[in-house]
Amino acid sequence: MRDLERLYQTHGAALLAYLRRGFGWCASPEDMLHDTFVAAMRRPQRLAAAQSPRAWLFGIARHIGLTAARRHRNPAPLVEATAPADQTDPQIADLRELIAALPDALRETLELRLRERISYEEIAQVLAIPIGTVRSRLHAAMQQLREQMK
């Protein structure tokens, strides 16, 4: 329980922000965070064996968020219902829209890298995909953004 509490203190805020941004439209982020740690508590062996507990927790949180989104009747909003960080720079605002318009797989991978600052290996663990796929998704996302920004 102490290990879990330590993980909560270390990664709880990032997980909560991730759940709020990604799945806050369909369920309470606090509830999903709670469910994440309940699920982690039920699998102590897997937690102990995880190469990156952070990536493992993000993987659980993502799974719980996707389950909540599937239960929700309304589709996900195209642009996240959160206040933009910088409304003064029109280029940033354009980029935000372009990122929101990226295919889901590319956008999610790019967000995990840039926003959550998760390494390629950890993204592969969170999304349960090979690391080569992570790399190719990131390259594709960046190239699409560059082409559309021209």
């Binding site: 329980m1 879990l4 509490e5 909560y8 203190q9 709880g12 805020a13 909560l16 922000a17 709020r20 941004r21 606090e30 965070l33 709670h34 740690f37 309940v38 508590m41 039920r42 959160t82 206040a83 960080a85 910088d86 280029q91 940033i92 605002a93 980029l95 935000r96 990122i99 790019l110 967000e111 890298r113 840039l114 926003r115 390494s119 390629y120 790399r135 990131l138 390259h139 960046m142 190239q143 953004l145 560059r146 920004m149």
Partner: protein, 165 residues
């Protein structure tokens, strides 16, 4: 290095996925090629802007660790596991008690006659198996008459026309 490979490396560099020494090597390489350094700077600029576009206002404070709720959840999880095992056992025992016991039909069993092994010769007090004392003792015990009687007739005592003399 072809442009596509270089672009991939520059994107990894812009996303901060390269080791510092690899990034320095790449910077040195791109500095030596005209226009490539600007491309690298362009990728870095795009990544920085994308990161800036994604940064959101500070989220709400993290709620306190729900230790009591997690303990309760663990208790119920373990309790449910125990209940499940108990239920399975109860169902198994109930089915066992409920089902009438049927005698097992046994068919005729063919009797196999086995040759009765002969009892080993009694110990004679001789430890060496092949010793002359043991062979002698065995011969005395079983008697000379038990031996098959071999009879040998010499061809020298027979007549040439085959009549016995």
């Amino acid at each position: 290095m072809d442009d596509a490979t270089l672009d991939r490396l520059m994107i990894d560099d812009a996303l901060g996925a390269l080791e510092p020494d690899v990034s320095a090597l790449l910077a040195a390489y791109t500095a030596s090629i005209p226009d490539t350094d600007q491309r690298r700077a362009g990728w870095r600029d795009l990544a920085e802007k994308a990161r800036h576009a994604m940064v959101m206002p500070a989220a709400d404070a993290l709620p306190p660790f729900p230790a009591a709720q997690l303990r309760a959840a663990r208790f119920w999880h373990n309790g449910r596991l125990g209940l499940a095992i108990a239920a399975v056992l109860a169902v198994g025992i109930g089915i066992g008690l409920w089902m009438p016991g049927k005698p097992v039909a046994v068919g005729p069993v063919a009797q196999v006659t086995k040759p009765v092994p002969t009892s080993p010769p009694p110990a004679i007090g001789v430890s060496d198996f092949w010793s002359s004392r043991r062979l002698l003792a065995s011969a005395v015990e079983h008697g000379v008459q038990d031996r098959p009687a071999w009879r040998w007739s010499s061809p020298l005592t027979e007549s040439s026309n085959g009549d016995l003399q």
